[in-house]
Amino acid sequence: MSNNEFIEFFDGGKEPTLDSLGGKGASLVTMTAAGMPVPPGFVVNTEAFRTFMHSGLSEEIAERLKGLDPEDVQAADAASAAIREMIISRPVPEELGNATREAYAQLQSRFESEVPLAVRSSATAEDLPDASFAGQQDTYLWLNGYREVADHIRACFASLYTTRAIIYRIKNQIPDEGLCMAVVVQKMVNAKSAGVAMTLDPTNGDRSKITVDASWGVGEMVVSGTVTPDNIQLDKVTLAVIHEHIGDKHAEMVPDAATNTLVERDVEEARRTVRCLSDTELAAVAQLAKRAEKHYKAPQDIEWAIDADLPEGENLLLLQARPETVHSAKTPEAKPKSTGYSSSLGFGSITASLTKISG
């Protein structure tokens, strides 16, 4: 996928920077490069934001905010509504519009038919205290067609001007000139099956194992515990299956094209008690968990999905990776330690080992 001045594809091969892609965008690029396939997509970078805002828009906004009393919430509300309307309705500069349209087409060309996308804001300064309410966490799901995607990119931009954000900046004398944002455009996951994977045995913290929970459809039902998932434990080094318990997966949540939402439905008898991952898919999930652990240098708890729209071999997606906290909190003990009969060197330990065979 080809990048340009305004667009950086997750797999575009360019070194990501926070300034250009925001935190979320940069992380998606980094993960893709590290072999952790997130749902494919691209970032509309901060240069695009600036190009858009500098088409006379920032001056008009500054004009509209001039003299606004931060204590006058009604006035701030009115300014917010007006500014957001200005942003949403402002035609996109041709160059930027073309670039976005081209990126959209390139992304869709990976699928047999057009798929719904998600648009999310990607802040460059997420640690600012106002980040959480300044619209910088905006997410728009199930967008169909270029028009909807383009509209929601501007909706993300507009979210910088909520009433609360405007008041906060005036009160704290933060100038609007520094405002910046990137926007992530990403495929909506169409999960055939999904679940979680941990890079250890959660029952004892044994780090030589990978534990996978998997069920049909999207992973919500696994995470929320409303379905008994397939539970599989693999050896982390060889990926051999050590044991597996096939759950009675009675229900699944799948996207509904008509309503653009997830709907819960019963799983037909034939699929309930068969494992929802093929051997190849299972190995791929385990490999993915291993890569995440290696990348983040700590035991991971990942969410993954097998996407029905992507070709085999490229259909495993990483939705989230976070450090495993229960066992990893006690890091020193997390690594296995032999304290038993065969722990020492020398022939005495051989005697001990031979005479105490584990049943």
Partner: protein, 621 residues
């Protein structure tokens, strides 16, 4: 869990025609009425891994020497604290074994001896093993020198001049005694290092199971197993010969390898053929002292006496090379994968534990390869020479009128054969003409032939009597794959049992589906079609070339370290070993799904057709 029992020896019905089978074996090899109480109280498992078919009387020598010498190293040399040797009996033609524990109160006293003795070897493994090679090869050379020439018509005058004073019969008697004692000698040597190899492996094995709970046995095996092994050398020689034949454009001359003389003559006459024949001859010593059997039977065929076997394998390799296949083992890939596995496990451990891990692994990796490589020196080379000499003797005896057929010798025990030799030298010495054997033996041998054939109609019971609650003896678990779970599954006590699914050891990873080929005997190997799944009571590593042809292997018996497991890991093929009954449950042509990572074999039923009364007796509960 319900504890069930296997049949008592006396409960097993004697196959029709095999009545009186006890008489064909020495008294000390069969269960005794006088010992019934003690013997019935013990648990015996059948070693059909090494002895898959019925012993002819002479063939008990391999079982006796092997199991006796294994035991002596536990009980008398190494003083293994908790394990004496393994008691053994032949019952209805098959070998049953029962480990002898060390009484609890004696264990502690053996520890210091044990540690001193293993330290002696582990402290200087390479030098001691080099000395072993010298001893073993010396024994083989002495065996090769033995001759079984016909007795001279008259004593040479020269002998009288030299004051020899003997009629030549002493040479025959001596050479027979030497053949037996030299073979016994190499069987003693066989176990000098074998038990140590297993001890080092078990030590590392138990350590791994402790620091990595539930670590697959396969991972542990991979970390200590040799990649470039002497045991694979004979097969490698065939591959090299196949590649050379292709290079020299001799491939077409391998179209009828069933006629080895004509094939070899045609090759010799072809341009470049001389070079190929030279390499072929060169490979013979010692690498063609190799059998497609396992060295324990008189019918085992050795490559150097049956050139059609290696020629057939070469022809098969040539065909595959010409189809564009890579016939050489992926050695580099295997080494890299082994190194990756070791490194990743080590990385999971902290400094001190990682050090212990590496020390134990290094010891096991040093000592363990012997467990595989010794096979070539003893089972193949020593036993190849032994059986060749036995055949020389039996031909001479047949020529001398002792036997109607040279194969008759196998129906006498080795000590009975010595009696026959004295019969011969007596009748010869006194000028009486035919030995008594000529009239006394034919009926006896015919009867024994009938008994052996009748015994062969029945498969052995997997075990006898009541199993102990848990199987703890380390060698039993490791060599024979006899674990508590395995025994319970043989008894049908497996709670997770599924219909049409056989369970065994996950011996070599990978999952495949394919068509079964049941091979009960090495002679049937030729029937295997490319891409089939081999199902056999047991495999021998010498079946090497067929492993390039098949998709997976399933055996009745054998653990992680059985030959089938080792060879399949080497060939990157899935294997499930120790299923107990695969070769009798599965039929050639059945579609199977073999999961070598889980240790399951599923018989895929496309359209289950159950008709007749048996359909209703099927319990689906």
């Amino acid at each position: 869990m319900t504890m069930k029992s296997f049949p008592k020896p006396s409960d097993l019905p004697v196959p029709a025609g095999a009545e009186g089978w006890e008489e064909i074996y020495p008294y000390y090899l069969v269960f005794q009425d006088e010992l019934k109480e003690q013997e019935d109280a013990k648990f015996w498992f059948c070693d059909s891994q090494h002895w898959p078919t019925v012993f002819k009387p002479f063939e008990t020598i391999g079982g006796e020497f092997a199991v006796k010498c294994l035991g002596q190293y536990n009980a008398r040399h190494l003083m293994i604290p908790n394990a004496n040797g393994i008691d053994f009996r032949i019952h209805q033609g098959y070998l049953y074994m029962s480990p002898i524990p060390v009484p609890d109160e004696q264990i502690a006293a053996r520890v210091s001896e044990f540690e001193a003795r293993i330290g002696h070897y582990f402290g200087d493994w390479e030098n001691k093993l080099a000395a072993w090679h010298t001893k073993v090869k010396g024994t083989i050379a002495d065996m090769e020198a033995l001759r079984f020439d016909p007795l001279p018509e008259i004593v040479p005058f020269e002998d009288m001049e030299n004051g020899v004073g003997k009629d030549g019969s002493q040479v025959l008697l001596d050479n027979y005694d030497k053949l037996i004692s030299l073979t016994y000698q190499n069987w003693q040597y066989h176990f000098e290092f074998l038990n140590l190899g297993y001890i080092a492996y078990l030590d590392f094995f138990n350590f791994c199971k402790e620091v990595f709970p539930n670590i697959p046995d396969q991972s542990i095996a991979t970390m200590v197993q040799g990649v470039d092994m002497e045991l694979f050398r004979p097969d490698d020689e065939l591959k090299a010969l196949a590649l050379l034949a292709v290079e020299l454009k001799l491939s077409e001359l391998f179209s009828n390898t069933d006629d080895p003389a004509a094939t070899l003559a045609a090759i010799a006459a072809a341009p470049g053929g001389e070079r190929w024949i030279a390499q072929w001859e060169e490979a013979h010593e010692p690498w063609f002292n190799f059998t497609i059997g396992n060295g324990f039977y008189g019918h085992d065929k050795y490559w150097n006496e049956n050139p059609e076997i290696p020629l057939g394998f070469i022809a098969d390799y040539i065909r595959r090379v010409e189809e564009g296949a890579q016939i050489l083992r992926p050695t580099e890939k295997l080494i890299a994968e082994k190194e990756r596995i070791v490194e990743e496990y080590a990385d999971l451990l902290d400094g001190e534990t990682a050090q212990v891990f590496e020390a134990k692994r290094a010891l096991a990796a040093t000592a363990y390869p012997y467990v595989e490589n010794h096979n070539f020196y003893i089972e193949h080379w020593t036993m190849g020479v032994f059986w060749r000499k036995v055949r020389e003797l039996s031909r001479m005896l047949a020529d001398a009128g002792v036997f109607e057929d040279p194969g008759d010798l196998l129906y006498l025990g080795r000590n009975e054969v010595r009696d026959v030799l004295f019969d011969l030298v007596t009748s010869f010495g006194i000028g009486a003409g035919e030995p008594i054997a000529a009239v006394a033996l034919p009926k006896k041998i015919a009867k024994r032939r009938q008994i052996v054939d009748a015994l062969k109609t029945a498969r052995p019971a997997p075990a006898l009597n009541t199993p102990p609650e848990s199987i703890t003896e380390p060698f039993t678990r490791m060599l024979w794959g006899i674990t508590t779970e395995q025994v319970q599954s043989w008894l049908g006590n497996d709670e997770d049992a599924q219909e049409n699914v056989l369970k065994g050891m996950a011996a070599s990873p990978g999952t495949v589906e394919g068509v079964a080929r049941v091979v009960m005997h090495a002679d049937e190997l030729g029937q295997i079609q490319p891409g089939e799944i081999l199902v056999a009571p047991i495999t021998a590593p010498s079946w090497g070339p067929i492993f390039g042809k098949i998709k997976a292997t399933v055996t009745d018996i054998g653990g992680m370290m059985s030959h089938a497991a080792i060879v399949c890991r080497e060939y990157d093929l899935p294997a499930v070993t120790g299923t107990g009954s695969a070769s009798t449950t599965i039929k050639t042509g059945d579609r199977l799904r073999v999961d070598g990572g889980k240790g399951t074999v599923e018989i895929l039923v496309d359209s289950p057709v159950l008709t007749g009364p048996s359909a209703h007796s099927h319990n689906h509960g």
